[in-house]
Assembly symmetry: C2
Amino acid sequence: MQFKFHMPVKAYFGEGCVKQYGSELEAFGKKAMIVTGGSSAKTSGALDDICEVLKSLNIDHMIFDKVENNPSTANVGEGGAAARRYGAGFVIGIGGGSPLDAAKAIAVLATNDIEADELFDNSFKNKPLTTIAIPTTAGTGSEVTPYSVLTRNEAQTKGSFGTPDTFPAIAFLDPVYTETQPAAVTVNTAIDALSHCIEGYLSNRSTPASDILAQEGIRLFGECKEHLQNGAISREVRGKLLYASMLGGMVIAQTGTTIVHGAGYNYTYFKNIPHGRANGYLMAEYLRFNYSHGAEKTDNVLALLGLADINGFDALIASLIGRAPGLSDAEISKYAAITMSQRSTTYNIRPVQAQDIEDIFRKVQA
Amino acid sequence: MQFKFHMPVKAYFGEGCVKQYGSELEAFGKKAMIVTGGSSAKTSGALDDICEVLKSLNIDHMIFDKVENNPSTANVGEGGAAARRYGAGFVIGIGGGSPLDAAKAIAVLATNDIEADELFDNSFKNKPLTTIAIPTTAGTGSEVTPYSVLTRNEAQTKGSFGTPDTFPAIAFLDPVYTETQPAAVTVNTAIDALSHCIEGYLSNRSTPASDILAQEGIRLFGECKEHLQNGAISREVRGKLLYASMLGGMVIAQTGTTIVHGAGYNYTYFKNIPHGRANGYLMAEYLRFNYSHGAEKTDNVLALLGLADINGFDALIASLIGRAPGLSDAEISKYAAITMSQRSTTYNIRPVQAQDIEDIFRKVQA
């Protein structure tokens, strides 16, 4: 048994946690930059709550609400420059994965005068600003990981960076903030959380500790699956999904992701398909591909979800998001090559060739 | 669902982890104080390993090897003064719970010129020195908690302190270091780890995340129970016990302990009974006392251990450590009063009166 466990984020979970524990922000400085995508931070009530907390602590703030969906390096570069100009003492990311990941990148760029593309070097001279993370979706888990996933236009895919210094200091997870998300976002992001748990569990970097967290996240998704299918998402179910998402984040903070994420980025980059949905298209075929190398764990995944076999898994996901779009042979070949260039591809429990990825893309088409 | 999760320690687990990852100590300064009890640090090989690492990094060190069993405030006060005189940049605790807890106290006292009794105020002007923890027993879990348990002679019991700043920065958990422990220490400390998992699971401060860690720790103890009974402790079993101990620490870092610890301290303070063994004497009766308030969880504990009922639990523990010593009525009354003064007593799932503690002490006597 050889493993590492590291997840230093202080996570507050529950209704009203921002107002209840927000006074801890006092330790981080007198000027905060709030990083959002503009919409869910406001409609969820999270932005109002955090502004009220900052005011009560006499902490000034500026709002950078220009975070794109799947933010590019140029986008976070703009945010980093704004944070430097403002003299931000810490960064508060509010939203789905995009604003949280952008907040981490901006926190690094605020203290390091480098090009945003240099973020992927994963080594920074100066310690990043402290980051606070407030998710408004239940899927990314970014609030408890060091990772920042950014769109790299030069590589036509996403890339990620993350060091022990880019874990958020505090995460506030309030299920109420996820209530204003459209049903499709709730489903897509829940599948993202599930993919973190399953990919981490079936990773060649899985650890005893990540495995128990992953199994609990998968079990919780199983408890929520009918609710996701029929759209009846109570506050209690919101809580379970947000907790499953946090567990998924804790898992990939140890293991990283695997080929589902690496291949899924192509649907997002080239077809503008939301991240969780893109992962979902690939997952049943991913389980079939890996079965020879992880039969016991795969059977356990299915049991935890209350499913009889991988066909049942396939049907469940299809009932939630349908089938993947058709791709041309040229697209399949290109996407597979890009997937092979991802570091996460090497973490897959079964060694992968480009041909394997091509086969998966081909099999999952509608 | 409302909870907090915080366990910022970077834990390296596995054979050879000190030499493999020791280079990370470079970040913490050029002068280290090693805090030990004198014996297990040397016989285990941990001291040699860490000294070799420090030498390779050109980090000077001094050794404070005067940590008592169940260290007193005076004892850590002496260590704190020595660390200040030496100008230590960080503290490395090597040993069982006593040296690890002493290291945390010394790290606080090195940067705060206060009396050791003021540690229990739990509020320090200056940030403590960084602490590194290397357990040589599988039980305390101190390497992943912020807690330091010290003997308070003025209160005739133990007291504890701990803040988010007193978590170790890094824990190195090498099962090989536990191999030189006598069989009785292996048993006693394993029972301590079990009590952390069970008390955390049955605490009124238990959380969804602490519960999954606790259940895994209990399950692992169950896998090791025959080995503990027959004394055949392979390296694999050592690994499971050390991991269970780490899980127990992660649990109580969230929940704290309850009446088993609070009451058990009396056996240790007044009868010189080792900590884990003292807890063990009380646990079956503690489960009986709490059953009305935690039947489902208690049944799950028993199932995870592969035991039919609490009588089976009682027999298992008795087979490992025998029965508690007899106490006079005056002792029972005094010990119960002291237990009631412990903060952890308020965390018990069933509200507790002094009479309840007296009953438990009375029932567990041989």
